[in-house]
């Protein structure tokens, strides 16, 4: 197996999952790239999380009542799942089809939505939008339960078109009109949720979706050029047929899995970074009947994907989870998970509680002088902890190169173990200088683990390591 195989596998696992330690990359590379893609795309082929164990020790994960507890639970899943793409796709859709705790106030309701993203999120986009329209967290978050026959609330109708499917525009043209928003809102009247049981004294109960035919506007509507007595399902049926929706899904997948695109509000006027790639994904969207798994299969096997290493800035969740998978900590529930998980928030991504219905801005907007300090210090603390099992393995593998290592061997060993990272020449020469500054690098010396750890810490502090 070549270095290229490892480096490509590292790339795939970072994007389709949350990265993997070198021994896993080697095992996967031995099985082959395409076989790994197929395994990732078929999560059910791998064992699920052991939920009984998780809830036995983390009692609060059963009731799903508190935001922090659910952030912990999701983080734990992302760290330990054998089905990395399932959690990754949930994270993807959570950032696109947004609901937020600040309004919903019941994490269990959002966790039910995440469960839908985990399964339907890899199926048909048509089914996903239908499910989303009837998801109680969404119906409440975007006020469709406040939209009535004769007195519509446009919030859901608008965001469905603007942020969840068509997008404002493409190729400089608008994708829909204000009338389309109103007509869509009319079609969804009567789609509501149950009146809830108050949280005192025993806590909340999940809401259920309800259709109230008396509150539904059954009259004729004209939506995106089609006319009929549409209801919400009809609206979704019309939406998913639109070329703009294909563009929207393709561009979001590209932005999340391939390379940072401009922020969504710019998409109307800013063409895609790689229009050829987007066109392939659009074609696959229609060919496969809107199937996300098919689009991802094309994506992961494409040259445009394979050539996109380090073209994305990691999100806070990817940073924290990826680091934990590397260092091998929190493989079993234990105290400390709460403060660990809060680091994702400190870096600017409060999971289940995005700042707005637009979700989080991505790419370079993850980084400012405050969040950068959080990110660097967190990753450096983790890879610098020579008691972590994953760090121990790295040290022993790097030390295996010989009893005396060159500065190049130390730097390259660290880069390989962190996931086949590559550095700009200038950065590399700085790190070589640092490696050489302590004299001989002897793998049998007492100070060797610390020497490796310091190099790992210096590497994770570079701009290169901000990327995936």
């Amino acid at each position: 197996m070549s270095d290229q195989d490892i480096s490509l596998m590292a790339h795939l696992m970072r994007r389709a999952g949350f990265g993997a330690p070198l021994e896993e990359l080697q095992a996967r590379a031995a099985k082959g790239y395409d076989a790994t893609v197929e395994e990732l795309l078929d999560p059910e082929s791998q064992p699920p999380m052991e939920r009984d164990l998780m809830m036995r020790y983390k009692t609060e994960w059963l009731s799903q009542a508190g935001l922090e507890g659910q952030q912990e639970e999701w983080t734990f899943r992302m760290i330990n799942t054998k089905r990395p793409l399932q959690e990754k796709i949930a994270l993807f859709w959570h950032g696109v089809l947004v609901t937020g705790h600040a309004k919903c106030e019941y994490p269990k309701q959002q966790m039910l939505e995440l469960d839908m993203f985990r399964t339907v999120g890899l199926g048909s986009f048509h089914d996903l939008l239908q499910g989303l329209s009837k998801d109680p967290a969404m119906v409440f978050y975007l006020d469709n339960c406040m939209s009535h026959k004769g007195a519509i609330n446009e919030n859901w109708g608008r965001e469905l078109l603007e942020l969840f499917s068509l997008g404002v525009g493409m190729d400089g043209e608008f994708n829909y009109s204000e009338d389309d928003v109103k007509e869509a809102a009319r079609a969804f009247t009567g789609w509501t949720v149950t009146n809830s049981i108050p949280r005192y004294p025993y806590g909340k109960y999940e809401a259920k979706f309800m259709f109230d035919p008396r509150d539904h506007d059954g009259d004729e509507k004209t939506f995106l050029g089609e006319t009929g007595n549409f209801n919400g399902e009809d609206i979704v049926d019309i939406i998913v047929k639109q070329p703009a929706t294909a563009r929207f899904v393709a561009r979001h997948l590209y932005n999340f899995f391939v390379a940072d695109e401009p922020q969504v509000p710019a998409w109307k006027d800013t063409p895609p970074r790689d229009i050829e790639a987007i066109k392939q994904l659009e074609d696959e969207y229609f060919r496969s009947n809107y199937d996300i798994t098919s689009m991802l299969r094309l994506l992961f096997k494409s040259d445009f994907f394979k050539n996109s290493t380090f073209a994305k800035i990691k999100s806070p969740a990817e940073t924290v989870v990826g680091t934990l998978r590397l260092v091998g900590d929190f493989t079993f529930p234990k105290p400390g998970l709460d403060s660990l998980t809060l680091n994702i928030r400190y870096m600017g991504q409060d999971l289940l509680n995005p700042p707005t219905v637009e979700g989080w801005h991505t790419g370079r907007e993850w980084i400012d002088s405050g969040t950068l300090v959080e990110r660097i210090n967190f990753t450096a603390d983790q890879v610098g902890n020579i008691n972590h099992p994953g760090v121990k393995s790295m040290i022993s593998r790097i030390g295996g190169a010989g009893s005396v290592l060159t500065a190049d061997q130390l730097v390259d060993g660290c880069l390989e173990n962190l996931g086949a990272y590559q550095l700009a020449d200038e950065t590399r020469s700085q790190l070589l200088e640092l490696a050489a500054s302590e004299g001989d690098i002897r793998s049998d010396a007492e100070g060797f683990p610390r020497q490796v750890a310091t190099m790992l810490q210096s590497i994770v502090a570079t701009t290169e390591y901000l990327f995936a």
Binding site: Y57, L62, A65, N195, P201, L337, D338
Partner: protein, 342 residues
């Protein structure tokens, strides 16, 4: 159902508790111990990010609040903890000795701490993580026998160990597996009036019964959701007539068996508004109106996460529900004639 067992009639009595981070109420109650004179001790596990909720709530069976004591561990960082004596991280069970001192197991610290019934910290057994004789790996359920020896479910070692009250190792039985007398991460334990030991063999989805010296006597239950089947049973209790009660955790029900382990009944919950719950709603009166409007209010009756079951000498059965912050109380009608009139 046979005629011999048809007299076992379990009925709902009432609900105790409400969700509260401190004071009167519970935060993820995981176990109930019954003291004398109507006193009950409710072990609240709470969560890492609300350590103040980790505590013992002391109240009466009539829901008079008495006190709270002990607390969780506030964290300073992922690896900076101060596990002071008397603090609790993953408390799981309370065992009461004859003076009503509380022995509390902690699955994270591998520690057994003791408190007086007034909440004074008395001490702890030296932590002894490991798999050797007398060492513990995630101690869960505990029960004193009539000689005040303490049986501890050593869940991570898939066995039961017997200690003196001071923590001296006496005996052990069980090992990992699914055969008779073997365990898979057992949780709850109870000792009946004959001194026989019942274990909730959690991941084997069954109950096993042993003699006081650890000899396998019988087992019942298998994986599933039908009558007499379990989905991770957490607790087991036996009343004075030998009736066996099992907290069937992920099936969200209480199952009742006769002394031979034959299925009698399953209760899925009948909770109503507790006294503290009433106070809470009165202080937030618009919630009474919201309840009028609410759809699916009948769900309030259902068990959610029954993590243990405790019986007392008065025929009460207490089932704490970690996810609902309350305790449902049931009672079994005695078949013995109590007079005075026909």
């Amino acid at each position: 159902m046979t005629t011999e067992i048809s007299h076992i009639n379990v009925q709902y009595r009432k609900t105790i508790g409400r969700g509260e981070q401190f004071g009167p109420g519970f935060t993820y109650p995981i176990f109930v111990a019954r003291g004398k004179e109507g006193v009950m001790y409710v072990l609240c596990r709470s969560s890492e990010y609300r350590p103040e909720g980790t505590r013992v709530t002391v109240c009466t069976t009539d829901e008079e609040f008495i006190s709270t004591f002990a607390r969780g561990v506030a964290q300073q960082g992922p690896h900076e903890y101060n596990f002071d004596d008397g603090s609790l991280v993953w408390p799981t069970c309370i065992a009461l000795d004859s003076q009503e001192n509380l022995f509390i197991s902690d699955e994270w610290l591998n520690r057994i701490s003791s408190f007086s019934k007034d909440g004074e910290y008395l001490g702890k057994w030296e932590e002894r993580p490991g798999a050797g004789d007398g060492e513990l790996d995630r101690p869960s359920g505990m029960a004193f026998d009539s000689d005040e020896n303490l049986y501890i479910v050593d869940s991570g070692n898939h066995r039961v160990q017997k200690f003196t009250k001071d923590g001296k190792f006496l005996a052990k039985f069980g090992s990992y597996g699914s055969g008779d007398g073997e365990f898979n991460m057992p949780w709850g334990i109870t000792i009946d009036s004959h001194g026989d030991i019942f274990i909730a063999d959690w991941r084997n989805d069954r109950i096993q019964k042993f003699s006081p010296d650890g000899k396998f006597l019988m087992k019942f239950g298998s994986s599933g959701s039908g009558d007499g089947e379990f989905d991770r049973p957490t607790g087991v209790a036996v009343d004075r007539d030998g009736v066996i009660y099992v907290a069937d955790w992920l099936n969200n029900r209480l199952q009742v068996f006769d002394q031979d382990g034959n299925f009698v009944d399953a209760k899925t919950g009948e909770a109503g508004i507790s006294k503290w719950g009433q106070d809470k709603l009165d202080a937030n009166a618009e919630m009474w109106d919201e309840r009028e409007r609410a759809q699916g209010l009948e769900r309030e009756k259902d068990f959610w996460g029954p993590t243990g079951v405790t019986v007392d000498d008065e025929g009460n059965i207490f089932v704490p529900e970690s996810a609902r912050n309350r305790i449902q109380v049931y009672t079994t009608q005695s078949p013995t004639f109590a007079g005075p009139r026909l």
